[in-house]
């Protein structure tokens, strides 16, 4: 098991958001669905050490990471593509990508190789290699963010709403790329666009009000009456 979360509880200030989440990710691609405010981003923040867990445990490759500072979690091999991208706008695509690998031991040694993979995956980044990231469109910035995360050669890649604010054709492209990646990396992805993401994942969780409501394979979720009525809108 790459990521194993048990009875995780956390929140902000006195507001509890997660009420005992059990979730695991093996060498597979896992989707995380739920309405706004269900706790998807909070769960990711707890894994990355951006919010501290109140209770429960988070194991990454068998090691407890709950409460570790963010940069240490990143160095162990979890790469995050945040909802807001969180790039370095005044730096070039090249520098953004380089910093993705520079501080992660498992990515640093094979930086040249990772760079080749990323530029192959997103050819547009090769064209814009020297351009400042802040001057690029939202879709291209999303690609830089995914590329930067891949540079670390992560064991687990977390994507928070990768299709947010993107036009449909690019959303399809992003999921297309994700299906290529999932052969090698464990992926945890949250998504509003349930229909598109069900095509790209192996398994999924539906989170509502801070707890896991459903857990099933992609096919199972696609047939589940609750998922169909609440998320697929049929």
């Amino acid at each position: 098991m790459i990521l194993d979360i048990q009875k995780l509880e956390t929140g902000y200030g006195r507001l509890q958001v997660l009420r005992g989440i059990d979730l695991s990710v093996g060498k597979e691609s896992v989707g995380l669905f739920g309405p706004n405010g269900a706790g998807k981003t909070t769960l990711i923040n707890a894994i990355m050490g951006i919010v501290k867990p109140w209770g429960g445990s988070i194991l990454f490759e068998g090691e407890p990471i709950g409460g570790k500072p963010t940069h240490e979690v990143a160095r162990m091999g979890i790469a995050l593509v945040p909802q807001e991208r969180e790039l370095f706008p005044g730096m070039s695509v090249a520098d953004n990508l380089e910093l993705g690998a520079a501080y992660v031991p498992r990515g640093k040694g094979i930086m040249a190789q990772q760079l080749e993979t990323v530029l192959e995956l997103f050819p547009i980044l090769k064209e814009r290699y020297k351009q400042f990231v802040g001057t690029m469109s939202g879709g291209q910035q999303r690609m830089v963010a995914i590329g930067r995360a891949l540079m670390a050669n992560p064991a687990l890649l977390i994507l928070d709403e990768p299709s947010l604010g993107l036009q449909p054709s690019i959303v399809a492209e992003v999921f297309d790329r994700l299906s290529i990646l999932k052969k090698d990396i464990a992926i945890l992805v949250t998504e509003q666009n349930v229909r598109e993401s069900l095509k790209a994942i192996d398994r999924g969780y539906v989170i509502e009000n801070g707890s896991v409501l459903l857990e099933d394979t992609a096919e199972g979720l696609a047939k589940n009456p609750h998922v169909v009525s609440a998320y697929l809108g049929i």
Binding site: P69, E86, F88, D95, L99, A102, A152
Partner: protein, 305 residues
């Protein structure tokens, strides 16, 4: 926009030519003052650009370094230039300690609290020095400081041009550090987006500490050079804090080369007023006028956009 910029450049060049013909010393001493201002403002700009803290105790660090140099040179009988590196190391260690014990605790506090904190630090440092060393001025004299050049009827001191050299070296050095080394790029990244930096594995807290140490090392070096030309007393640093703040604000956050330009403007304007006997006393007010103009100009521009 391009036309406007060209017009400004032409006006600036014309002004310089006229000044050179009429009062060459305004340009010469203006540049020398600019060099001194820039060398002290650049480290402050570095801290503001990356740690996002306005260090109102900045000039006081220079004052401390100048005292350290004075004591070292007096007791060992060496030249301040030999003391530069050891003083830089001591100032840097002190700066790092101050960062760890105080500023680090206030990183998440509101900006006003951070300002009050560094302002208070400045006062505490000044008054502690006052207590131990009294307000008596201390000065060392060196032959090379009075070096001068004669061109025709014009005679002027050249020693202070070393500050111009240091300012240019500092800008080039920092630029190389921030754009060519991994640690420098990481520091730049932390300045642009600390959250993004943490998720790629950069230790944000450690980066802040090292940037603070680098900046105080630079200001420590300049404290050692400062004492070759000026007397030192406990409040000698505070005008430099104010002027550095003014220059950094004029250049804009994160714009280190811009500090050079702002310093030249400040240095030449001050020396322009000093060229008139009756206006001499007003030269200290120049930076207030400049900072008000710049901030006003920016707000008007911001409103239009």
């Amino acid at each position: 926009m391009a036309n406007k910029r060209n017009a400004t450049t032409i006006v600036a060049i014309l002004a310089v030519v006229v000044l050179l013909l009429w009062r060459p010393t305004v340009i010469i001493y203006g540049l020398q003052a600019a060099g001194l201002y820039a060398t002290i403002a650049i480290p402050m700009g570095l801290i503001l650009g990356i740690v996002h803290i306005v260090n109102l105790a900045h000039g006081e660090f220079m004052m401390l370094a100048a005292y350290a140099t004075y004591m070292l040179c007096q007791s060992l009988g060496i030249d301040p230039y030999l003391a530069m590196i050891p003083v830089a190391i001591v100032t840097s260690a002190f700066g790092f300690l101050v960062y760890k014990l105080t500023i680090r605790q206030a990183l998440k506090a509101p900006e006003l609290n951070q300002l009050i904190l560094t302002f208070g630090l400045g006062i505490a440092i000044t008054q502690t020095m006052n207590l131990f060393f009294t307000s008596q001025t201390r000065k060392m004299s060196f032959g090379y400081v009075s070096a001068s050049i004669d061109i025709g009827e014009l005679s002027f001191g050249v020693y202070n041009f070393v500050f111009v050299g240091f300012a240019i070296l500092m800008v080039i050095g920092l630029r190389l550090y921030l754009t060519k080394t991994t640690a420098g790029k990481a520091a730049l990244a932390v300045g642009q987006n600390p959250k993004g930096a943490a998720i790629v594995g950069i230790d944000v807290d450690k980066t802040y500490g090292s940037v603070f140490a680098i900046a105080t090392a630079l200001v420590g070096m300049m404290g050692a050079v400062f004492i070759t030309r000026s007397a030192v007393f406990p409040t000698v640093g505070s005008p430099f804090t104010m002027k550095s703040f003014c220059l950094v604000a004029m250049a804009g956050i994160g714009n280190i080369p811009g500090i050079l330009g702002a310093s030249v403007l400040l240095g030449i304007s001050e020396n322009f007023l000093k060229a008139f006997r009756s206006l001499r006393g007003w030269s200290d007010i120049v930076f207030f006028v400049l900072i008000i103009t710049v901030i006003l100009g920016r707000s008007i521009k911001g409103k239009k956009a």
